[in-house]
Amino acid sequence: MVAFLWSIDMSKEVPYGTLDLMVLKTLAGMGSLHGYGIARRIEQAAAGALELNQGTIYPALLRLEQKGWISSAWGTSDNNRRARFYAITRSGRRQLTRETALWERTVSMVNRLLGDAS
């Protein structure tokens, strides 16, 4: 009742969307990065397959930080700008492993399913 009226979206709490996975993967590979860098990196990796509103990574970053999977600190970027740098934490790495495995299982299952159907 309360949850319904105040629209607590339970699915937000449940692991996460692909964006979170991509952010974690990026940070795991590149070390510490600021928001712009993460967005660039994801776009490059997607090689045009993804239309990313770069702004959307900030709520995702906050979400991941709240869960303790990444940490953040102010730092200075290559061109001497003050920027907030994000880095993956140990529990973030564990989560990435878990989620990667889950992702692969899901994908292979869906693939099998689709393969059967065709």
């Binding site: 309360v2 319904f4 009226l5 105040w6 629209s7 607590i8 709490e13 600021h34 928001g35 712009y36 967005a39 660039r40 509103n53 770069q54 702004g55 959307t56 900030y58 709520p59 906050l62 979400r63 930080e65 709240q66 869960k67 303790g68 970027s77 061109n79 700008r81 003050r82 920027a83 907030r84």
Partner: protein, 883 residues
């Protein structure tokens, strides 16, 4: 784990929200700059680059909103916002808000007051530490009443048990304190074992408590005072410790002062060791006069302790078959022995009334909300059209309801406390044991919060959902005017009918309450006669050890009283009118022998000659007792009219013989036959009951140590009591005369229970019906004036005022019929549910129901006629234009 962490982090954000906001601003600015640089590097002009960067970034404000949603506690944020909005809105509609809060607060307050009473009498338990581990022991036989334990049984049980920390025994009794330079005073006292206060966790506030060496044969007499006695009699003088006084004529040293509220098991204010109780050492195994309770030892199970006592008693029943055959000792939790059970039908009926009152006030407020949501239809429609979801609208209305309910809960708590005060002050101060403490505790608060929360769903949810269904286009098109769609009218009618139904249930009982006074008795007049005075005199065993000495005292006193010209009659009785006295088994010579199942019982009372004459009654048949009655060879009895009607209907009564069993129910081997010499009028021995069959015996046949004096006097009450006291203390200066009252006062005191409970019920009914009546009138009147527009059109088209009124009446009559029908069914249901049990709360009686229906119908008709007449008198043009 993660979710706790998330919540914590969000909570932190809520506190630090300003800092987070700035950080986000900075991050976004940096991000946009970097993006723009990237585009400049790709060959755009700075302006183009900035625009492109914004496009690539996406909507900044939407992102911030999403960020804020993720940050902080969205629910707390949203609720806070809703609550603030609701409070602003209610502040703007003070009339509505105050009415709703008061009406709901009254309902909640009444409910809470009833729950406080219920809590005190059933749920809270005695004010003893860990009272659930204290057991009360009593003797039960296959037949006959529950009794205490005899001293020998008590001692055998104490010696044998292993599961108890201790078992205490006490014997309440009056104690006359004198010999200390103050006037003799009679106090409620108790003889107690030394461990009594230890087991109920009470310490003396001055001096010392009882030690085991005080409670031994031959120990010096000692006594503990209650704090109130210490303060009133000795001015709270600490030097009272060690002072020598006499109690019931025996020399005693005061050793300590106990706090108030240690009067366990009732009203005792002075205590002496059990061994000082007269006749204890010689007490026989079948003299079951001790009240016994024990505390279960730490580590032992309560069930084991109960079983252990039962086992020991079984052994005693075989070892002492002559006295203990067919008897068992039962241990029950002391709370259930001294308090009621919440599942008792009386209490369930009680709380049902409480909920009916809350429901009526809820229905009232629901109608108010419904009306208001009509007025707000335009606002709600606009909000819906600019994107407010239905869920949001319901939510806003529910929060408004919750704000009202919370204010009503606070109001209700106040009402409840005031109500309890009034209730408490209606009860004579010493009528209730000290443990009935009607204060607010956590249970009462929990009930208050629970009921208040529940009301939100009753009064706010339906109107809220209803309001959210508004057809936006229709409302906006016609200016929110004619939105009285059928469904909403049906809802309003439902609330109205529900109020009617609930009011009928309560009113039906109110009327019954007023009608049932019980049949009158010819002797009831004595309770209106202020010339008849009763007082109690107790003769201490120390100074009046034998029946002959007590008898001599009564005779001497009666002789002197009769010598006073102002006294028209004087007599003693072992039990005064409106005191039940002893119940005895009965055998009547010449009627079939009775067995265990068909055994008859009667009350028994000892009286001196002149008792009926002093009451102004006289005997109906035969003769009164003379001086010789009760002596060997003249074993006589007088029976009352009720006895004759019940046991000897249609037969001659005077001259018949009867015999009574021993007071504790065991049959006597050789019956003593008593000859009936007279028939007396029936006099009520118990409050609010039909008269009991009573056998009167000459007082000399078993001279009691305490007796009620009955005097008929021409003097005013105080003068008569002073004269009596003077005569008594001329014989023995240590004898207090107490409980001196006129018979009307006796009745007044005896009836407090019935008076308070029927007063309470009538008060509840009054509140409920007042709420319902006001609500009915308001709802009906409002419903009519809401249709002024339509009435205007009808009038413009040629309808006459009479037709308008008739139309409104017809609709109300349908609602009323529905409400009354439901009410009658509910009343019948109530009777089916609560008719069992000790108190009669039934009422399928057509006359009171008819009266009820008539009252409510009158209200309804008034509510329909007045506003619709007014409406029909206005100018149709004005009515149509009025929005």
């Amino acid at each position: 784990m993660t979710s706790i962490r998330t919540a914590l982090s969000r909570l932190l954000d809520l506190v630090l929200s300003g800092r987070r906001e700035r950080r986000l601003e900075e991050e976004i600015r940096g991000h946009l700059d970097l993006l723009a640089e990237q585009y400049v590097a790709a060959g755009m002009t700075p302006n183009e680059a900035r625009a492109a960067a914004r496009r690539a970034f996406g909507g900044v404000e939407q992102m911030k909103e999403a960020y804020r949603d993720q940050r902080g506690l969205p629910i707390a944020d949203a609720i806070g916002q809703d609550v603030r909005f609701a409070i602003r809105l209610l502040g703007r509609n003070r009339g509505f808000a105050l009415t709703a809060i008061l009406v709901l607060g009254l309902g909640i307050g009444v409910n809470n007051m009833l729950f406080t009473i219920l809590n005190t009498h059933t749920l809270r338990g005695l004010p003893i530490p860990a009272s659930r581990r204290v057991l009360f022991l009593s003797t039960v036989a296959d037949r006959g009443p529950e009794r205490g334990l005899s001293f020998p049984d008590y001692r055998d049980i104490v010696l044998a048990v292993r599961h108890y920390r201790g078992i205490a025994a006490f014997r309440p009794g009056p104690m006359a304190i004198a010999g200390d330079g103050h006037a003799a005073e009679r106090l409620d006292g108790a003889f107690v074992t030394a461990n009594t206060f230890d087991l109920i966790g009470t310490q003396p506030i001055l001096g010392r408590g009882l030690s085991t060496s005080d409670d031994e044969p031959g120990a010096a007499g000692v006594a503990l005072l209650g704090r109130t006695v210490w303060e009133t009699r000795y001015g709270a003088d600490p030097a009272v410790i060690g002072r020598a006084v006499t109690i019931n004529g025996a020399a005693v040293t005061l050793i300590g002062v106990m706090p108030d509220r240690s009067g366990f098991p009732g009203t005792a204010t002075i205590w002496m060791p059990l061994w000082q109780a007269p006749g204890l050492a010689a007490a026989k195994r079948d003299a079951r006069t001790l009240q016994v309770f024990g505390r279960v030892a730490d580590g032992a199970r309560v069930d084991d302790a109960i079983a252990e006592v039962a086992g020991i008693a079984d052994r005693l029943a075989t070892e002492h078959a002559d006295t203990n055959r067919n008897t068992r000792v039962r241990a029950v939790p002391i709370n259930s022995r001294f308090l009621g059970s919440a599942s008792d039908p009386v209490w369930r009926a009680f709380m049902t009334v409480g909920f009916i009152v809350v429901l009526i006030s809820c229905a009232n407020v629901a109608n108010l909300m419904l009306d208001r949501s009509l007025l707000r239809a335009r606002e709600l429609a606009i909000r819906a059209s600019v994107g407010g979801t239905r869920r949001r609208l319901v939510r806003q209305l529910l929060v408004e309801g919750a704000v009202i309910a919370a204010s009503a809960a606070a109001t209700g708590l106040l009402f409840g406390i005031v109500g309890i005060r009034a209730f408490r002050s209606a009860i004579p101060g010493d009528a209730l044991p000290y443990w009935f403490d009607y204060s607010v505790d956590w249970r009462v608060l929990a009930a208050l919060i629970g009921v208040s929360a529940l009301t939100v769903f009753v009064f706010a949810l339906v109107p809220a959902i209803q309001a959210s269904r508004t057809d936006v286009v229709a409302v906006l098109k016609d200016g929110g005017r004619s939105n009285t769609p059928g469904r909403r009218r049906i809802l309003a009618s439902t609330f109205l009918a529900a109020q009617l139904a609930l009011a009928v249930v309560l009113l039906a009982h109110f009327a019954v309450n007023l009608r049932s006074g019980g049949p009158g008795l010819a002797s009831d007049g004595i309770f209106d006669d202020p010339d008849i005075i009763t007082a109690t005199i107790t003769l201490p065993a120390a100074t009046f050890p034998t029946p002959a000495s007590r008898s001599a005292f009564y005779d001497t006193l009666l002789g002197r009283l009769r010598g006073v010209p102002a006294f028209a009659g004087a007599a003693f009785a072992s039990t005064a009118p409106l005191s039940p006295g002893e119940s005895r088994t009965l055998t009547i010579d010449g009627t079939p022998a009775t067995d265990e199942k068909t055994r008859q019982t009667t009350l028994e009372s000892g009286i001196t000659a002149g008792y009926f004459q002093a009451l102004g009654l006289g005997v109906l048949q035969g003769r009164d007792f003379g001086d010789a009655d009760g002596r060997p060879g003249l074993e006589s009895a007088i029976v009352n009219e009720e006895f004759a009607r019940k046991f000897l209907a249609g037969e001659s009564v005077v001259g018949r013989r009867l015999s009574l069993g021993s007071p504790d129910g065991t049959p006597t081997a050789a019956p003593t036959w008593l000859t009936i010499v007279g028939v007396s009028p029936s006099i009520r021995q118990r409050r609010g009951r039909d008269p009991d069959a009573v056998v009167y015996l000459p007082l000399t046949s078993s001279v009691p140590g305490s007796a009620a004096l009955i005097v008929r006097s021409d003097l005013d009450t105080a003068g008569a009591v002073a004269a009596i006291r003077q005569l008594v203390q001329a014989i023995d200066p240590g004898l207090p005369v107490y409980r001196a009252r006129t018979l009307p006062q006796v009745r007044h005191d005896a009836e407090w229970n019935g008076r308070v409970s029927s007063g309470l019920f009538n008060f509840l009914t009054f509140i409920a019906v007042a709420l319902a009546t006001v609500g009915l009138y308001a709802a009906a009147a409002h419903g009519v004036s809401r249709e002024r527009h339509e009435i205007g059109i009808r009038m413009a088209l040629g309808a006459r005022p009479r037709q308008i009124v008739a139309r409104m009446l017809r609709r109300l009559v349908v609602q009323a019929a529905l409400g009354f029908g439901a009410g009658v069914i509910l009343t019948a249901l109530w009777d089916r549910t609560f008719s069992s049990g000790s108190v009669d709360i039934r009422s399928t009686d057509l006359v009171p129901l008819a009266i009820v229906v008539a009252i409510l119908l009158a209200v309804l008709i008034l509510a329909a006629i007045v506003p619709s007449r007014r409406a029909s008198r206005i100018d149709p043009l004005v009515a149509i234009r009025t929005e």
